[in-house]
Assembly symmetry: C2
Homo-oligomer: 320 residues x 2
């Protein structure tokens, strides 16, 4: 795995810039600092993250059989983000592996991981790169403190390969979409529905809107039944997993998750305080950090899980 993180943006600076009471961000959103793209685009960040991963793995672009850009923010409405990332890679023009986008908002990494695992056959697809490059900062409403303080920018690249010995891999993935929550997280302006020609820029319309209380109520209700379904045919249960990587949705969201199940100390990882909610990049960033800290060992079971816009809930159990 590799990453690209733009400049640190401390909550006390953000609070000063937008006239928020000092300490509001950490107290209410659980975010002390986050990263913010200044000159960086999604394509730039994604390309740098992938180059970092390739270097760490001692791979080059000739090893890549497919590039998946997984996420919900983008440089251009067209072409698709993966093709932009590919074009910004050093040597990107000399290789012709396919570039495809997958989007299930905050769960895009889980969706992409499932698709990549299904494609990897050791023949046509030996190695697939997944890049989650998110620049959510532009779409934040300066008057909405809850979202303004919560989100951060980040890019993470994950290289997955066919394991002929079957020692590591995806054990199970499950995703569900609960459409009653489709409008609970939305950016209304900028697509066909509120087309930019007919709807001039308006911060409220073109920014991310989140109905936090409705989302938390839905998550609280759905989470137990989702986990029961996920683990019903598995030989281990949620609290027996070695490492749990939850999406860093929000302070309260994480609290509800941790309170709903009887987790062991240090079983559930977190980095909301340092990076905020990085949309689809949160899960792989936390996974990368956990591996770097030595808290996830080869052979361990790791469960990635979270909620998304849509409203979605998902999880994937991997043997690392």
């Amino acid at each position: 795995m590799g990453k690209y993180l733009p400049s640190v943006y401390e909550s006390h600076d953000l609070e000063r810039n937008y006239g928020l009471p000092e300490g509001w961000s950490e107290k209410n959103s659980g975010v002390k600092r986050r990263r913010k793209a200044l000159f960086e685009s999604n394509g730039y960040m994604g390309a740098r993250a992938l180059e970092n991963a390739l270097e760490k793995a001692s791979w080059d672009l000739s090893h890549i059989d497919m590039l998946i850009a997984a996420g919900s923010t983008f440089d251009y409405p067209l072409p698709h983000q993966s093709s932009v990332i590919k074009s910004e890679l050093k040597e990107g023009l000399s290789h012709h592996f396919p570039a495809i986008d997958i989007d299930s908002t905050c769960l895009s990494f889980i969706s992409a991981f499932e698709m990549a695992a299904a494609l990897l056959d050791g023949k046509q697809y030996k190695r697939i790169a997944i890049v989650n490059a998110e620049v959510g900062s532009k779409g934040l409403n300066s008057k909405n403190w809850e979202t303004l303080t919560l989100f951060g920018d980040a890019a993470v690249a994950t290289l997955v390969a066919y394991d002929s010995e079957g020692q590591s891999g995806v054990c199970k993935t499950m995703q569900r979409t609960y459409s009653e929550g489709v409008n609970h997280t939305i950016i209304k302006g900028g697509g066909n529905k509120y087309f930019a020609r007919d709807y001039p820029y308006d911060e409220e319309l073109f920014s991310f809107q989140m109905h936090g209380i409705k989302l938390l109520k839905m998550a609280k209700r759905i989470m137990p039944e989702f986990m029961d379904s996920f683990f019903e045919d598995l030989p281990l249960n949620l609290t027996e997993i070695d490492v749990i990587i939850p999406h860093q949705a929000s302070k309260t969201g994480l609290q509800i998750f941790k309170n709903t199940f009887a987790f062991k100390p240090n079983q559930v990882k977190e980095n909301l305080l340092e990076y905020g909610n990085c949309i689809s990049a949160s899960i792989p960033l936390l996974l990368l950090e956990t591996i770097e800290k030595g808290e996830l060992q080869r052979g361990d079971y790791c469960f990635l899980t979270g909620t998304s816009a849509g409203f979605g809930m998902g999880g994937t159990l991997i043997k690392y």
Copy 2:
């Protein structure tokens, strides 16, 4: 398969409305008429197309294990289009199958088909719905006759199922991305790069731009080597395939394709004249029409192929 097609928009009406010489569209773009969304959104069209497919198959939503929205135009920047389509389905709120987006622009159907085929295992995934709902008409530049006359709106739904007897399915899929062409087809405005707050609406910036001549040159150069690679390990070659469904990219694009290879009469299907280029919906719409006309029979080999923004080239060989 099912479809939803909005109102007919005749080229002579379009020419009158925009002050084009009579007959310009058919002569230059090869498009006599196309469909244009009036009140319809991507979500509405996609939901109606899927309902049409389900009715024809005598399936209901309880049969669906995943919904993939494949395409490049969308109602909202967030949430992802598949979750919007799902929410607009009759009974969509009562079912919780996952909704995931896949985007490789005009080749999105091929990408989604490959991913769906890889996921279908007869256990967790028995049936997957792919919906290509494209409303490109809003992003057309009224001053650019080439694109204004070329594109049409359409939605097509395809239901794919695990075939336990292995009598039909995907034989091979290959996609390649040639990044030197990344800027040849682009909508610059509306993403993070030219964010709507910083760049007020401007028709040129927020509309689809196409460098037709550069694209045709690339396609002409790449097509033969792509087809050679595709068929090198297969027991049949391109001209032996029963039915060929090319993306309806443009009149000249289709002409180059047909002139490059020695096709048999009626082997290569077309519907550009009636629908224009419907982005990712072109390939499945033409496939659906070919099946409805009885020109594709069970057991036949069918090759879907085309180019995309990015710049991409792709193909999938299926046994129907």
